[in-house]
Symmetry: C2
Subunit: 390 residues, 2 copies
DNA sequence: TCACTTCGTTTAACGACTAAACAAACTTGA
DNA sequence: TCAAGTTTGTTTAGTCGTTAAACGAAGTGA
């Protein structure tokens, strides 16, 4: 690697245009060559040539004739979503959820397992078994399993090793390398919140929205930051520790070293603690049930958590000026009881300029944001490779 | 504009390569064609051809022969920094500072005026006069004044209009349009903190550092966020209102609607207020003088402000995981009295992963960060245009 | 049936890049 | 001083990807 070569050459332009053509077929369903040419601005001849390459790579198929617009019938082209499959895994603290998707991210198979034993050795073994199950479920296809994406509850470095996972007790595991060696396909590891953000950005509430902050409210609070449709990672690859944004400089001490961290006030943990102080059953689902049954203490409790959620979200809004903030993970189940309080709290605390455009949403994919996002990592890695090599 | 045309074509590659060549000449001083070819990986023939175009555009000059490396002497090429000049303006609350720079951003002339009357009509008139002065100072050159950049103390929209400038009382001024019409060159308006961030990124403490947060601590606190070497602007173009990050959710109410905003605790205003409560003279410079004279009350005051500065910076670090945080604007004059307290406070409050790489710096350009950055806006707009059209 | 569309391929040409050859200019050592 | 070897930058020939235009195939509609 004597030469990093950040050069601009000519095959680059073919890559760019191939990507443009593929994208338009993927996003706008069946299209004819003529339509692609018109939409992209590329010449008909160019489109024909690029489509030929894509058909050779089995990424695009002719699916027959379309209806005539007063002339020769067009030949419709469709993205071959079944040319391969991706595996997405959401590695939870006490569960493993997995999906098998096609290349468009549509779920083909879905499974969930409870994590039997939390220690690293058996956890890792179980994870491999789960992935193996999904691999066996794959209908045969041109490319087979194109990759595996895994969302984990902790901090991950740029080599796909888990650096720190407080609730999982898996320290310093080179997860990417291990899984890659075991299955022989590209593996991407990222933190659960980033995966969730990707999931919502591609398949959920944030589709097509450029600036979006995904707030994963579970036991703690994690966040995935999407700017200009791209996941933002900081200098060292671990940004977005918004759960440790301090909302009270002299507040409760947090194990992270800071004081008054947001997640101490607005996470599921905080909810449960407060509930127990009130003598309520300390379980998210039972609290939701209580609220449904009109228990005013439970309702008030959610209000208060919503209020604190809003405090942090207001900070996020002032910092990032995003298009949307998406609240996801377990706590989003209580959206009905949180929504108003969050919105009011944010409204009270943000500059009107920001407020005008910004919207607060709850995750559309519910507890599937992270698995879907994880699968997307695998898909996008594969497509990037196919486009650039072939 | 029926066609947005996000296409990938062939002239694009020439643009890319021209930019590569120009950049290497700009950054690595005098270079021969052969050297450029070697460094960029472009073919010698390609370099020759691109250099010819750049010489036609007067952006690059041959400055004579270099020393031989055992063969024919190379012809050295130099970026023609004097082909044009840029004007940068820092529009303060009670001053106007202006610079005239060459195309490398070197200051050729510098002037400062006090703002005579704060109202909009006379302020605008004075601003125009100041710019006119700088225009007249320009040594004649091929392109003349290539553009004007202005940093303003307020929120600016994407059309260069001042939306809100609490300390200036210039509401809803279409500054860009006005100045463009008056001087007939491209004008860029941005907020003072963004301009300062650019200045430090290009010419100051942040040179070449990808992820950098510039914290402008003056009367209030503003911030400029540079991610991947690019200024980040949010969905509506005004992000970075980190001054209104709440560090105490039930703290003092702020005029922005939020409570406990950072700038209420860590700005020059906060300093002055606290000083007055202590019976000290409420002026930044006199407080610095007092500290120099070993006045323990003043020293303790700076410590306390530094501590609060650190609280906000810790939040920033947890959110963005930047390479550096740069403290700029007026308060950076007191760096000696702030440094330790800030660093300690940040150390106590950030995750060790973040802390490892991150450094806290004070603005190298001191109170010139914003003017220099403003001039850079003009330069970069010009170069972008020249590269893409010619 | 005829005039007119529309689709997708073929053809010819262009523009940008590269490798290789080359001439000019220079160094070095005998 | 001269021959051999280097280095620089241009010239030449060729490649690759794109485009405009022409064209044949396939349809519509009156």
């Amino acid at each position: 690697m004597a030469k990093p070569k950040p050069t601009g050459d000519q095959t680059l332009i073919k890559k760019i245009n191939t990507a443009i053509v593929l994208d338009s077929v993927m996003k706008e369903g069946p299209l004819s060559r003529a339509q692609i040419s018109e939409r992209t601005g590329l010449n008909k001849a160019t489109v024909s040539s690029l489509v030929l390459d894509l058909m050779d790579a089995h990424l695009v198929d002719e699916i027959g004739q379309g209806v005539s617009n007063g002339g020769r019938k067009p030949v419709m082209l469709l993205f071959n979503a079944q040319a391969g499959h991706a595996i997405g895994i959401d590695l939870g603290v006490n569960y493993i959820r997995g999906v098998l998707t096609d290349l468009l991210g549509n779920v083909v198979e879905e499974r969930e397992w409870t994590m039997k034993r939390p220690d690293m050795a058996s956890g890792l073994k179980q994870l491999e078994n789960c992935i193996q199950k999904l691999v066996e479920l794959e209908p045969s296809s041109k490319y087979g399993i194109v990759g595996i994406g895994i969302g984990v509850p902790g901090i991950v470095d740029d080599k796909g090793a888990i650096l720190f996972a407080p609730n999982l007790a898996w320290d310093r595991v080179e997860l990417q390398r291990l899984i890659e060696e075991r299955f022989g396909v590209p593996v991407t590891i990222d933190n659960e919140a980033n995966a969730g953000a990707q999931g919502e950005q591609k398949y959920g509430a944030g589709r097509g929205i450029p600036h979006q902050i995904y707030v994963s409210v579970g036991i703690g609070i994690g966040t995935g930051i999407i700017l200009n449709k791209d996941l933002y990672k900081g200098a060292s690859g671990f940004s977005g520790e918004l759960g440790h944004l301090s909302i009270q400089y002299d507040g409760k001490p947090c194990r992270c070293g800071n004081r008054g961290c947001w997640e101490l006030y607005a996470s599921e943990n905080a909810l449960v603690e407060n509930a127990e102080e009130l003598g309520l059953e300390g379980e998210l689902d039972s609290l939701i049930a209580a609220a449904e049954a009109n228990d005013s203490r439970a309702i008030e409790l959610f209000r208060s958590i919503g209020e604190y959620l809003g405090v942090g979200i207001a900070n996020i809004v002032n910092v990032f000026n995003p298009d949307v903030v998406i609240i996801g993970n377990r706590m989003s189940r209580a959206s009905r009881w949180l929504e108003c309080a969050v919105q009011e709290s944010v409204d009270r605390r943000t500059l009107s300029y920001h407020r005008e455009r910004m919207r607060i949403l709850f995750a559309e994919l519910q507890d599937r944001s992270a698995v879907r996002g994880a699968a997307y990592y695998a898909i996008s890695t594969f497509l990037r490779k196919v486009r650039n090599v072939e």
